[in-house]
Symmetry: C2
Subunit: 762 residues, 2 copies
């Protein structure tokens, strides 16, 4: 140990390209490890997960937010959370539900004519091409209020919400077919399929139903096409998770169930609770569906309309041979098709085994018409023994399985044991086990349910944290634990608390597959991807009044909102269209009007509208809510709500009384600041800045800002010509404001170049 | 390098208490560093920030969420986000705004009779005792809709929202006096103080005003007392940040301003924008207030009522000698009193200097009546030269200052330079500078604005991230960078993206000072801290109908909701009171009713109510939204909304047809499971488990669950006696369900003991 310490110290002292900071911090690695109580194993885990400033993570994870109604985006291996995407729940930072355009998306999710202002998101799915994640779209379901949302990964915004036409709850979504033709959503708790129709629980077996919905995705439009979508009626078996087939099982889908006992609880009447009656039998049913043929049947007019939606009934499905059942160990959760599409893996939470079904065997039984029985609804049941490839005893509470990049290797979460099992599904043997903290629900490997899993890492989605983090009150964060699966045995690397939401399921994609934009084409409505009717170009800002409707066409750019005054009369309906004229990456502006409960997040190029009724007299400041520049606090304006028929008595604003001396002082300041800019420019152009795209973008933006001085300069010179020192000085000040922004950008670029090893050029 | 690698490998190979996992992962530290491109400096930073599983961070940070309207809680040095606290914005994961009790808190924040469903949170403050953070309460302001919220750090829940009675926007809060007697909130954009009163911009100088509000905090009640609070009228100078004095400056407060030019923009009318006119003069004003005396004046009846609120007018404040101005470099942001209370530090964003004012000098000038002038409102102005201790040229865009544990050392953020400057405010010299990415707004040291800063770490709150993280669309996360300040020079340790919200300001406290609870006293309304009228004990669940009002007194415990059926008629007003009967840490249950837009998060012991109108006929599942146990999906029930006057025709639920054989099989399963439990118990009691409080709690909970088998056992035996195999088997299944929960807890405890070095006992 002493030797290691000396060597480490020597290595540091020798410089090795280190900045003075480190040498002078007088810490050696061993000092730090000792002071912080880190083992060598801890240090290795730290080295495997730490991402230094300026470097990037390798994978991006999309996790459901559960009751937060959102999607959580984080990156691996550093486990840093990058974004919460507003999906079913309004979220003001993104303006989601606080501007008119995103409200239109949320309004698509109304049920029975009413706003639903949250969701219970469960299972995200990334769009696939030939069974591989393509990084274009993301889908997620709402269990509580059966809905499905489409997120575009070009801008990470929610574009569409569709309401399930027949379910009253829905857990088993979203899952996509190998070319994202369909997105699958399965019912959870059985209920009458007809909307707003009551049947008593005594008619549960006859009148309550489950089902699966196949939502047709139109990739070109980037939207689900509800009219081309259909559902399959299923028995009231509490359908659960699902998966689509691939390769040899392409064209089929698989859906679990629990409570196939069809038990109805009633503790209040002295009956044993659902938990007792729903887990009393040893097996539940795996539903096996030939969805390609089902789609053909629907196209051929064999569906029945329920609530205006195409539903293939059980009778037709059985008659046409598209629906089969296979017993599975009781109360299963995940059903997971292996990357090669040959096997379907099911884990029954109340059984110690994981069951590997062979698609080939299932097909052989179906083709041979070899069924052990029919269920009460006439659906043929393939015997478990005829369908099983193997069963492996893993431990208590096996729940969900994901796959390795190495052939035949799978990982299964075990809820009761709080463990992850690594096992071989070809040979049916356990390879390794690792304890997690605590009570793992789902787990996830990188691209782990695609045809080509990427291996390397696994994330355990633990439902409890208990003692893992600094306590933050009775409501704890959950804990996503990162596990290294690159070696023969699993190694726990990192504990990540989830600060908001109760994640259920997650999917991970190589970061290199994501190509999000940094700006919109100017004037884009980001929710429809179309040109926004309120889009406004620089210099064309205006206020249009028609009766009591006031429409404001406004622009935002560092650091002013145009117009800076909006005059209305009480009772006016005010719509403000906001276009962000910036082109620079990350130059988002926000907008709000004091106490009128609107907010917009306006990224570069975006146009978005806010709307409210000016229903109270008075003076209400509006401002940019983003800290967008040094002068962001001055990016302000006033909404004036005047009484009906108000007439002004005073018509001039107070003068500032600037003099020629003030003007000359400002001119001097401009010259001094230009010298600073020139120095920065000289540095930047003295190095190979063109090799750094980030810097090229900053330099471009800096020159944009500097270019704006031209107009302000013309104005101050014209005013000075007329000895209007007030206007002359103020417009000169505006020149300086543009210079400050230019210098800001230049210094940002300079720092970047210095820290990223820019080299001198001639 | 090779030597280091060999030594590291040898150290690993030698074991050093490492588990087999590591040895077999075949990685050496050097392999990992090479593969991941880490420098020695990176490794040191990783070692300084990594917190291994089971260990905890040292400090807890509370950051504003900006437009998200929330508070973000994260821990240092790992920079992991632990919680988002719902404050001004409804948030369904916490049930905030989705249950009746939290709705009551949000309703306190209504303005002009309307709900405001978001906020622009800016500056959190931790309650203080003798100038030190005491970890009891947290305060935060809303800039957009001037309000202030109180969060109790026993449960991290928002308890109160107060609406500012006279402002239309408000930036400069929250700041607390040294014993949290008052919480300060300063106006931002000047407006008429009378609510819903219009005056034109032409009367800006005469009719528009700023101000500061001193909210009286009643620590015993844990609430602000609006009636005992007051404001001070100030000129229309766009007041900004503030700070309270301490030590020698105790009893005084300091508030910045910008746009003391009182400029009114109007680009749309050809006037230069606010940004030009608001930064045209070289100085703005620091407001110096004797708040103790101001409070006495208000108590003595010298205030004027505006909107029913006590306001000390400028005239009275000047006459009574409680209000003074001092010029400060233009467009300042932070005003920060040094830990010893002797100096007030101001940074003007458009000046290169940081200015250190001496409280002693200010007092001397005031006592001597030495003023350079009066402002247009008659407020005496102390000359800058008479108040300054020193000025230090730091760089471009100095903004906010925080303090080190070492005497005289301060850190100032520089927005335009994107740097942090470390400097000595006693001697007036720069010590060190560090570049950050990009454009730092506020910064924060540990307990850095208390009388006893803790040193060690600094966080740079950067407003942009640009290229720092994997891109997630046009809207980027911000970047909080952790900096080691323990050495002579600053060292950048970690980049943390903020996934939701636009944080402005943060405060950090030693984790050891926080003592949050893990459960509530059974039946507590967490928003009022009082007993909840809907609290229900086990066995006392009931449904009470009065006319069309249905009140359900329900309980939640692993894994059933009692009652499991709620029958209503269409049009009924339904209130469901939910009590979580759990005592175990982290055993939160959630509750929702499909499509009725309610959600509750019910932590152990809490009682909370949801309310809705059963306005649509049909069958609506309800369920626990938390993955609370292996059988969480079965924690379900049905809301039945029947048509008016509906009469049943069928009165029996379908039978399950269990036989004596089923019952005997279940009894066998119970015996087998008990054997597993016995094994686990044998292990636990064979080691010193009593030395681990976490395990003691788990064991207690396990025995709670096992204790519940008694009642179910009596029921199945009684049913078996009557040869009612249906009831016998189902109640026996319920015994087994309790066993599964017992085993789950036991295994959790066993894993903990194994991983935390439990020792064999006799």
């Amino acid at each position: 140990m002493r030797l290691l310490k000396q060597v480490a110290a020597a290595a540091l002292a020798a410089g090795l390209g280190l900045a003075g900071n480190v040498a002078q911090s007088a810490d050696t690695l061993q000092d730090v490890m000792k002071a912080r109580g880190l083992s060598q194993q801890d240090l290795l885990a730290a080295a495997k997960t730490y991402v230094p400033t300026g470097k990037r993570d390798e994978f991006v994870v999309f996790s459901s937010g559960g009751q937060s109604g959102q999607i959580i985006v984080y990156s691996v291996p550093s486990m840093r959370i990058l974004k919460y995407i507003g999906v079913f729940t309004p979220e003001p930072w993104q303006g989601y539900g606080y501007d008119e355009d995103s409200r239109a998306v949320l309004r698509q999710g109304r049920i029975d004519g009413k706003d639903i202002t949250w969701g219970d998101t469960h299972h995200p799915a990334i769009s696939e091409t030939n069974g591989e994640y393509d990084g274009q779209f993301l889908f997620i379901n709402d269990k509580a209020n059966p809905r499905l949302a489409v997120i575009d990964l070009r801008d990470f915004e929610t574009k569409q919400i569709v309401v399930n036409p027949i379910f009253k709850s829905e857990h088993g979504g979203a899952f996509v077919s190998t070319n994202t033709e369909y997105v699958l959503e399965a019912a959870q708790y059985a209920a009458p399929l007809e909307n707003r129709k009551f049947y008593p629980l005594e008619e549960f077996n006859e009148r309550y139903r489950g089902g699966v919905t196949y939502w047709k995705f139109d990739r070109k439009a980037g939207r689900i096409d509800p009219k081309a979508s259909f559902s399959l009626e299923l028995p009231p078996y509490s359908q659960d998770l699902s998966d689509f087939g691939k390769g040899p099982s392409e064209g089929w889908s698989f859906t679990n169930s629990f409570c196939s006992e069809r038990y109805v609880g009633g503790i209040e009447k002295g009956r044993p609770p659902y938990e007792a009656g729903c887990s009393a039998k040893d097996t539940d049913y795996l539903h096996v569906v030939n969805w390609k043929k089902a789609a053909e049947l629907v196209a051929a007019g064999k569906a029945r309309k329920i609530n205006g939606h195409d539903v293939l009934t059980i009778d037709v499905a059985v008659k046409e041979g598209v629906l089969f059942l296979i017993p599975e160990p009781k109360s299963p959760h995940g059903v997971d098709v292996t990357p090669d599409g040959k096997f379907i893996i099911v884990a029954g939470k109340l059984d110690t085994h994981v069951s590997v079904y062979s698609f080939e065997k299932i097909q052989a039984a179906i083709k041979a018409g070899k069924f052990e029985s029919k269920d009460p609804y006439g659906i043929p049941v393939v015997a478990m023994a005829d369908a099983l490839h193997t069963q492996v005893a893993l431990g208590l509470g096996p729940l969900h399985t994901q796959f390795d990049s190495k052939a035949c290797l799978a990982y299964t979460s075990m809820y009761v044991d709080s463990q992850v099992a690594k096992w071989n599904f070809c040979e049916g043997k356990v390879v390794d086990k690792l304890s997690v903290h605590y009570n793992i629900g789902h787990l996830m490997t990188m691209e782990g349910d695609s045809v080509k899993p990427a291996g390397k890492y696994l994330v355990a989605l633990n439902k409890l944290a208990i003692d893992r983090f600094v306590p933050v009150g009775p409501l704890h964060p959950q804990n996503h634990q990162l596990i290294d699966i690159s070696g023969d045995r699993m190694q726990l690397l990192y504990d990540m608390p989830l600060p908001l939401g109760e994640p259920h399921y997650a999917v991970a994609i190589a970061a290199s597959k994501l190509k999000p934009a940094v700006r919109y084409k100017v004037g884009t409505n980001s929710r429809t991807d179309a040109a926004h009717p309120g889009a406004t170009r620089a210099g064309e800002e205006k206020i249009v009044r028609k009766g009591n409707k006031v429409e404001v066409f406004a622009t935002l750019i560092r650091s002013h909102i145009t117009p800076e005054t909006i005059e209305t009369e009480i009772g006016d309906e005010v719509t403000i269209h906001l276009t962000n004229l910036e082109r620079a990456q990350d130059e988002t502006h926000g907008f709000t009007v004091s106490t009128y409960n609107v907010h917009a997040s306006v990224e570069p190029g975006k146009t978005v509208s806010v709307k409210f009724k000016a229903d109270k007299e008075g003076v209400y400041p509006y401002y940019c809510t983003e800290f967008c520049s040094a002068l962001h606090l001055e990016m302000q304006g006033y909404l004036l709500v005047k009484p009906k028929g108000w007439k002004p008595t005073k018509t001039a604003l107070a003068a500032q009384n600037y003099t020629e001396t003030d003007y000359k002082a400002t001119l001097k300041k401009i010259v001094d600041t230009q010298a600073v800019i020139d120095q920065v420019v000289a540095y930047i152009t003295s190095v190979n800045y063109k090799d750094f795209p980030e810097v090229v973008a900053m330099v471009e933006d800096a020159f944009d800002q500097l270019g704006k001085t031209k107009d302000a300069k013309a104005k101050h010179e014209a005013a000075a010509g007329k000895k209007d020192w007030e206007q002359a000085n103020l417009w000169a000040e505006q020149v300086w404001q543009y210079q400050v922004k230019t210098a800001d950008l230049g210094l940002r670029a300079k720092t970047f170049l210095e820290q990223n090893g820019a080299k001198k050029v001639k």
